[in-house]
Structures are given as structure tokens and as C-alpha cells.
Symmetry: D2
Subunit: 349 residues, 4 copies
């Protein structure tokens, strides 16, 4: 009953097999190998566009590198107050970005709306040089609440951002989960809607440790190679990052893995709803949040269930004093049995 | 005939097997798993001391994190002019260290001697606050020339460094190669000789991507967890870093792999010497440098040999105009056959 | 009718005279002169304690240096959302602090209360190393709303901050204005109440460009000399900073200047109240805020009055759509005549 | 007999008078006053070109801001090994520049020649992304040895720098001293010879604390306003910086002050030569270096002479063991009498 995170799973078999298979022989380091070169082209095919791709081992690094590259040190990056970049990266964007400023914004279900963004940005205009300058809008797809932005929602936000001279960054640690829920192509869900740079995650989706920073305009990526290197994010045996991506993207593996995770989330949500625990937010990716009594939470934990209790200001209604918000995450590795046991235990407790 | 680097090899079978074997089931992320906890203890056993250990995926990250942790932004870090941290990390120590200053020093065979260190440090004393402050002495073991520092040499340098209030950092990307050449324990080769923090490399030695920052005084490591996280260097599926180390250190695997690499270097050096190409520096680890005519170099390259031509000011005698300095690196994966073919080709050319 | 800021005034005559008088002869640079040495001792006398003092030319520099010195790059600095350090320094604390994080908090009259601070800090505990670490509480005295913290209020906040391992920073750009309003000594208003580091401003109070970073524990100031120098904040002809402070502090000049500014604010507030414009917040220093119709504001501006219209979430009641919040600042140089003219104009408009 | 530095002098009378005269009345802060606006135009007239000007109070800040603005964090800035930016700014360029790298180069009389620059740059090309990237060439005019670069020398260096994609920065802390020695206009000595950004110093030349960062291409200065502000280098009572410059530049005051300083240096050099102490380097600005026996140095110090003993690798011949290198600096305030007394004492000792 491990629903702590999608990163508690191991490596998807297809990806592990690729690492094993690609281990033979010698290959030049630092990305100068065939597999590494192929990945950029493959990602370009998927997104139907020439792209510049930089593979790194962590999502925090991907986000921090991307944000630092589209914002000067005196830039403001606008994002939801509970976005991973604000709450879980220990200041990585600020470090990478030479002290850039993250500006949090509210929003139900951890989603930001255009009026909220417009209001936030308005506080950072017209007072130069005393204030930092609007530089980027960042959003997580799927969001930290497991909700997703539809292409038209992205387009509206991106249009607003661009009108204010900002770049648009998508934290796609769970991009696959979001995509398979939508009736949209990768291109439609990203650059066609106005995304400038995407952190396209594979780790949570089944890889060992592989994230891709994808620039949809190669010019925007100038000197990112130096930025990544000096951040200690250029792997010497880089082929193993590339091999993970190659397998991840081959034959729709990434979509298949994401669909399984989402299906498990749907199943979990359906059963919990049937048991009287309707999700706190729409279940659109692989995260299910439920509001439960604290004593039930204690019993679930005692029974061996693994998950995190979260604090959030993005609920439609605040928690009652004896309630808590529980986050349940499914992954490619989640088994239906675990869901059954968890819900059964919750229902009878 | 791939002698380009020890990072052109793949993953040593023992380590790859450990990744595969450890892939089952769920494990908490970010180092909160059993394997991660075990690694710190295991490294402590090897070094006969309580240590604080931080695993990261790259050597550049390990060095930069370690140096930033022992030097303030206004600190000077003294190292050989051709040290990896000065020449091959694109300013990572400066970035991680908030703008700290690396001070290069000369030395034959890429080794620094106490008088050289003393002279260099003397330029940074007595002029506060106009100058950066001596903060650390860093040296590579083995050095970039493939030479090694004996424990008494380290002790003399460390004593001097400590007398000036500096910490001692060992860039041990090739620590195993150095160690198996010496009649010394890991403890004797490090903290007993005065090393404060060691970047204990596994990647070049056979891992996929795993380096350990080892603090010999736990107090010195305070808040390194935050520093690593905000650098995007904390892997979510951290167990796979730990599994690599576990296998690397089990049953003297690391020493065995290093011995093979060194033996191959010795063999290469012996055969090259017999063919008239005596190494430029003593072969004490897994690197062999030879000075050859440029036209021979061109033929070797054309024949498919892979290696790098290097520039160095650390030769005992300067190159002649038509000569070049060739670096040949062996690894756990080097085959005797390749050495034979390379030397044969060089000899007959 | 210039109420734009206390920095639109020139130099107080006593201070200008000191610059002129101290101009003769030669003096060693960078603070190695008699006047510079005397200032530290003089400030120590005023605060009844051994202090470490660092003079710099701007308040932004003073704040940024102080905060960077008491917070690591992974630290969180808690302050009111409308504090100068968050809204008017273009990210200086983040730059100086290597990417530290400023956390804004709400509070009527730009004042933070202990429960608000406790709540804010609680979000940054228990989730290491994924979050930045509480490092400092910073508050402005007087606040941006012209309100002040009494010693017992400071003590309660400082006690809470210290209990969470944080340092306490007072942005005293208007410290003199706050002090002369209270029945407290400089010591009681600062370190006796728990302040660890004070930015003791002179510029707004009548100097040309001089601020003092005052550490009440000399150990806390270790290496601040280097930090200041590498920030380009160590003046070569440092004596002129010292001369400004010497004159500022001689014969209660600083208190006299501040009392005049406060008296003018009181007079302005009284007359405005009589004219139907009661201040939005208690007038406790040299700032008066009034809520007026936008068309009146337009007429005032047209009449040549100089002031800033501010946005604030710290009002007890929100503005109506046709209202605006006007900030009026008095200084040592404010004349009663200007107040009369301004109020007369406002009253009749 | 104070020859310690040109910053041991006070404020030139013309400049002090301007501060006093400009103190009346109110003026908007942060550079939004008439005097501040006029300065940019005045400097443009002097340099016969539209320029972007940023006034700051220290030379270290000016250099650090300028270098950070023309170099990315992964840039290399090439300068003479004994340049102020390398030896006397405690890492300010590295701090402001997010960890950029300063690369020292040798050169007699603290001057760099094109072959030396070419050689140094060659070490930083062709190894991307492992190395920092050539970003700027910086030189001091006059140099730290008191020598100067003629326009054709600057042009040759700038041409080389530009050919390698680098910007050219002139540290003109003593620009006036250099200029009055040459038969060249300000334009010919700077942008016409290829200088991109000049730190045009007034402090050493007679101001209290005022330096101007002058960009000869306004586009290159984009966002410098934010960079200066977040560095705490934007003075609130900015008019007093402007007033200093206004007076400094009015009626050739700056040239007159510099000529006096240079004349005093010439006189000092001539008398010392007559007394048997020929200068170590050509005296081309307001610095005179002499090599004297250490026991004479001790007697001079005992007699009350003020100067600094320097270490240098830029002498044509190394010092003998009992010798030392003494730096004597003249300024607008140097009196002929002091020179007479100093030389007399040296001659008879």
C-alpha cells in the first residue's frame, strides 16, 4: 500500500532493460554518443518541431536550469503558491537563477487563472528599478493537486504572460500523466499553446533518474550547455540518460506507463468515492487527495499504508479541525490489489 | 582502442547487477531507504571512522558541493593549475561557492609541493579585507597527470593548509586507482593524513553515475543536505545511487576494478616504453601520457584509436614544435588486446 | 509641498558642515582613519554595549549585507509582505544572500504579530531538506506604514524567532523617528528586546548617504569586512561616511532631526484630520497616509504637491473603487508652511 | 609626506563647493533629479557619443557591475594578474558576476600585450562546455604600475578581443591621469579604440565617492538599472553623486586636477632619479615606483612617510633579497613641499 509518491517505484522494466542492453562497449562521454544525439531528434519528432534538449538526472535541476535560463537574476517568476518550485526544491530556482524571485499565487486545485496572474504581475510593473521584473510564468502539468491545464487554459495564460514580456515554463514532472488525459498532441499541449520551455519528466513516470529540459526555440537555449555543466548536471556516462529516454519514448512506452498510473488513480478514486471519500480535487492525473478524519489517518498509517499528509490552501473549503488532507499517488508500478486493500481498510475503519 | 577516458566504459557487471537486483518493490525517495542508510555506514567502516556521506550523480557536483561547503564566498581555494576543478568544470566551484576564487599553482606531474602552496598562500594574507581569504587546499588523487600523492606528502600539505586555517579537499575521482597503488589503508590515505573532505568517485571506476562526498568530521557537514537539495543533486530514486555504491564497495569490488585499470596502464606503459615511447610522467594510476610526433598522432587517430591530446605546463621539459602530448586512460573495461593493437600500431608507424 | 520621501531633502546643516570641516589633510582610506574608528565606539556608547559597526552608503546595501550575514543561502527570512526588503530593493537580499528566500506575511499597519510569524514559520519546519530553513525575522522600525513596534512587541517577536533558531534583523532606516516616539533607550528598543542586527539609518534622517550595520554581538559579525568589500560597499574615502555619523550622533543631533520630522507629521495629521482626512494608520513616525478620492488626488498633484500613491493590503478596510492611498513623508527639512498649504489645498478642493 | 594612495586626499574644493551649493531644496531621489539627468548628457558630450551612464559610490562596484553586465556567469574575464579586479576587490567581480572567472595574465609594467592575450584566450577555446567561455578583456588605465596604454595599443587589444567575441572593459579609476598624458581625446582613448564599457573614476581624482559606469552602446546597458539597484548601489540622494560629477567635469576641472597629480609624480620621479632612485617603470600617470634597500624603507617609514610596499611580478628584473618595491602615489592634493622633504630624506638616508 505504497502511495507515498510515484518516485517510490523502481525502474520500469522496459527502461531497465535498455540500460542493460546499452551497457556494452565504449561510448564517448558527456553526450557525445549516438544515443544522446538520437534523443534530441526523437523528442523533436514527438513534439513536431526542432527542439533543443538537455538531459539531467533530477526534476529539481531541470526546473532550476530552465527558470534560470529564461529569467535574469532580477526577474520574477510567477507560479502557484504550492508549486513544487516554491515548496519542495529548497530554493533551487533562486540558487540557479542568481537570486531570482518566485512569486506565489493562489488558485483552487493548485491551478492559476489568468485574472490571478494578471493581478500578480500588476504588482511588479511600473516601479522599476526598485522591483524585480516579470520574467516567467511557471506552472506544473499535472499540478501538485493532480489537476491539469487544458490547451486552451494554457494558451490563455501564455498569451497573458507573453504580453507582459514573460516566458512560459511548464514543470512537466507528470507531463505524461496529464497528456494521456487530454485529447491533444504533445505539440498542442505545449508550444502550440505557448509553452517556451518544458521540463519533460521521465523519473516519476518510470525512469531511474532522467529529465529533459526541452526548449521549443533553439535560440532560447543558447549557452545552456555551459549552464548545465557548471551546475554539475552533465553526466559523464551520459549515454545512460539517453538510453532511459530512448526506451521511455519507444513504442509509446511513456504513454502506456502513464495510462496505467492514471487508471490506478481513477480506480482508487472511484472506490474511495464509493466508500464515502470523494476526492478533494478532480482526479485528472495520478494523484488522489482525500479529506479524512485524523483518527482514520492514524489507523491507515498504523496499518502500513504509505502516503503523505499535506497542508493546502487550495481546497474549495477549509479543513475542519479534526480533518486532514491525504495525498495518494499511483505509478506505473501500482497494483490493483494494493488499491483494494487500502480502500477496504479505509472503508471499514 | 578506446583510451579517451575511463568514463567511456559502461557499468561494471557487479554494479549493473545490483541495480537490476534492487529494482523490485517500493522504497522511499530522497535517501530515506535502507540501502541509502547502509551506504554511509559502509563507507564509515572502510574509512574506520564516523563519516557523513552525500551521494550525487556527478564528480563535478561532488567537488563543487564540497568546496562550497568548506569555503565562504570570499574564500580562496588553492589547487594545481591543471586541476579538473580549474579546467574542466566550467566554473562549477565558483557557481556553487557564490563566487569563491580558485587559485592555480604550478607543479611537475600536476602535483603541488608544500613550498609552492606556501608561496601561493602568502599572496593572500595580510591584506584583508581587500583580498579573498585562504579557505581550502584541493588536490586530485590521482592527479590529472596520473601521479599520486603518498600519505606523507598529503600530511605535509595538509599540515601547512591547516596551519593557515584552510580545509583540505581531495578530489578522489580516481581515488581507488591511487589507493591500490599505495601501501596504505583508506584511512591512512585520507583523514589520518589530514584530508577533511573527500570526493570519493565511483563513476570512472565502474559505476553508472555515483560519487560520494565524504566528510570525516560530521560537524563540518552541517546543512549539506540543504545545499545538495537546492543544487538539484538529491536524486528522488536515491536507492539507485546507494545500490551502485553498495556493489562497488562489496567484497573489495572497487579495489579489484581499480587494480585491473592500473594493471592495464602498467602494461600499456611497459609496452610503449619498449617501443620507444617512455611515459611523460610516472604511471601511478590508470593514466599514461606519452610525447609523440604530431604525424604519428595523426596516424593513430586515423587508425581508430581514441584518446585526447592535452596541453600541459607540468612537463619536466617543454614539447618540441612537432610534438604533442597524448593522454591514454585505462579502465576496468580495458582489454589487453586493445593495448597490444595500439602499441603495435604506434611502433610500426 | 514635497512629501515624496524623506530622501528628497538634502543634507542637514550639521552634517554638511562636518563634511566640510573634515576635508582637510590626508587620511588613510577604507576605514583606517581616526573618524571611522571613533564611530564604532560612539555607536557602542549610544547602545550601551560593545558593537561591531559597518558603514555603507545605502539602506538597501545595509539590509542586504545584514540579512546575507545572518542567513545561509538556504535560509528563509520572514518579513511583512510590504516590507522594503520585499518590495523596493529589486531582490538585493536574494542577490547578497546567494538566493535566500524572503517570505512575506500579512499584518495591519505593516506590522507583524507573533501568531502570524508562528504560522508562517510552521510552514517551513519538518520538511528538510526539501524546504528552505527559517533563518531570520526582519522588521522595519518604523514600518512602511509609519507605525512602530514597542519594545515589548519586539521582545515577543524576537523570543519567538530565537526559539525557532532565527536571528532578528531591524531595518532601521527610520529608527530615529521610531525611537523618539517611544519612552525607551536605544538599547531597550533594540538588543535588550532581542534584536541581533540593526540597520541604523542616517540618510533619510539627514545624512547625505550613510547607513550603519550594527551587530550587537561582535562574533556574529565575523568576516563582514570581507562581505562588505566584495559587495563594493567599502568606501575608499571612508572618513566621509564616518564624519556624517559623527555629526549625526553628536549632541543628540539625530534625535533633534527626527523629532522635527515627527512633529511635522503630527501637525500634518492633525490638520488633515481637522479637514476631514483622518490618517489611515496611527501616525507614529514621520509618515502620514490618507485615503482620499482619486479626483482630489489628481488636483493635489496638479497643484504641485509631491507624494506617492501606494497600494497596500495592510489597511483595516479596503479602498473603495474611487479612492486612493496617499503617502506623505516629512523630514528634518519639512517646513510648517508647506503643511499649511497642502492641507489648505486639500480642504478646499 | 602622504603618498599612500590618491584616496587619502580629501575632496577637491571645486567638488566640495558643488555639494554645498546643491544642497538647497528638495529633489527626487534615485536619479530622478535634474542634476543626475544632466550628467549623462555631459559625459556624452565629453565622449562625443550617446552613452548610458550609471553613477555609483565605489570603484569596486563600478568594475564589478560592468564586468557582470558584459560576462555571463560562465564567462572568463582576462586581465593582468596584478589588476585591481584580481587582487584588491575581494572577489567582487566573481560575486556580482555569479561566479565568473578572472584569468590573470603576465606583463611588464602591468600591461598586457596582444600575444599574451591571444595565448591566454587560446586556453579557453575548443573545449566547450567544460570550460568557461571568453567573455571580456579588462585593463586598467592607468595600470597598477602607473603605465598607460596608448590608443593604438588599446585598439590592437580590442580588435583581438572582439575577434574572439569578447567585450572590452577599461578600469578607469585613473582615467584622467592617463588621458592628460596622451595626445588623444576621451573618445579616441576609449570607444574609438574599441572600449565597450568604461569605469570612469572621479574618487581618486578628487571626488568624495563617485564613479561612473559608461556604456558606449546604450543597448549593452539594458537592465543595468536593475543590476545596480539590487546591488545596493543606487543612492537615494543621488543628486549628490551627480553634483560631484558636474563639478568634476565643469571647465576641465578633472583634467586640471589630473595634471597636477601627474606633475607632482613627474617631479617626484625626477628628484628621485637625481638622488639615484630611478623609477622601476615609466612614470606615465600619478604613480611612482622605486626599488630601494629595505633598511632605507624602514627609515622612511620611521620618518613619517606614508606609502605602501608592493609585491610585483611585473618588474623587468626581480628584486634582490634586501630590496623592496615602494609605491608612491600623488594626487590633486599633493604639495611640492612634501615631495622635497621625502626625496631629501631618501637621499640623505
Amino acid at each position: 500500500m505504497n502511495f507515498a509518491s510515484d518516485n517510490t517505484a523502481g525502474i520500469a522494466p522496459e527502461i531497465l532493460q535498455a540500460i542493460v542492453a546499452g551497457n556494452d562497449g565504449f561510448a564517448l562521454g558527456y553526450g557525445n554518443d549516438d544515443a544522446s544525439r538520437a534523443v534530441e531528434q526523437r523528442i523533436g519528432e514527438i513534439f513536431e518541431r526542432d527542439v533543443a534538449v538537455f538531459l539531467v538526472p533530477t526534476g529539481t535541476a531541470a526546473n532550476a536550469l530552465a527558470l534560470a535560463h529564461v529569467s535574469p537574476p532580477w526577474g520574477a517568476v510567477f507560479a502557484h503558491s504550492e508549486a513544487h518550485i516554491l515548496t519542495d526544491e529548497c530554493g533551487a530556482p533562486e540558487f540557479y537563477g542568481g537570486g531570482l524571485k518566485l512569486v506565489g499565487m493562489p488558485g483552487i486545485g493548485c491551478k492559476v487563472t489568468p485574472p490571478t496572474l494578471a493581478e500578480a504581475v500588476s504588482h511588479y510593473e511600473g516601479h522599476t528599478p526598485h522591483q524585480v521584473v516579470p520574467a516567467a510564468f511557471s506552472f506544473a502539468q499535472a499540478s501538485e493537486a493532480g489537476t491539469i491545464y487544458r490547451p486552451d487554459e494554457i494558451a490563455a495564460l501564455a498569451k497573458l504572460a507573453h504580453a507582459h514580456g514573460m516566458k512560459v515554463h511548464m514543470d512537466g514532472a507528470r507531463f505524461a500523466n496529464a497528456l494521456v488525459r487530454m485529447n491533444a498532441s504533445p505539440a498542442e499541449a505545449t508550444w502550440k499553446a505557448g509553452v517556451d520551455v518544458l521540463c519533460f519528466g521521465a523519473t516519476k513516470a518510470g525512469a531511474m533518474a532522467a529529465e529533459a529540459v526541452v526548449f521549443f526555440d533553439r535560440a532560447l537555449a543558447a549557452n545552456m550547455a555551459e549552464r548545465r555543466k557548471r551546475a554539475g548536471q552533465l553526466l559523464s556516462k551520459h549515454r545512460f540518460l539517453a538510453l532511459q529516454y530512448e526506451a521511455f519514448l519507444r513504442d509509446d512506452c511513456w504513454l502506456r506507463l502513464a495510462r496505467h498510473a492514471n487508471n490506478m488513480a481513477d480506480l482508487l478514486a472511484a472506490r474511495l468515492t464509493a466508500a464515502g471519500f470523494a476526492p478533494a480535487w478532480p482526479v485528472e492525473a495520478n494523484l488522489v487527495f482525500i479529506v479524512i478524519p485524523q483518527n482514520l489517518e492514524a489507523r491507515l498509517k498504523a496499518a502500513g499504508a504509505r502516503y503523505y499528509v499535506r497542508r493546502s490552501d487550495s481546497l474549495a473549503a477549509p479543513l475542519k479541525p479534526d480533518q486532514c488532507l491525504v495525498r495518494l499517488v499511483t505509478s506505473f508500478a501500482t497494483h490493483e490489489d494494493d488499491i483494494g486493500r487500502f480502500v477496504e481498510f479505509a472503508a471499514k475503519s
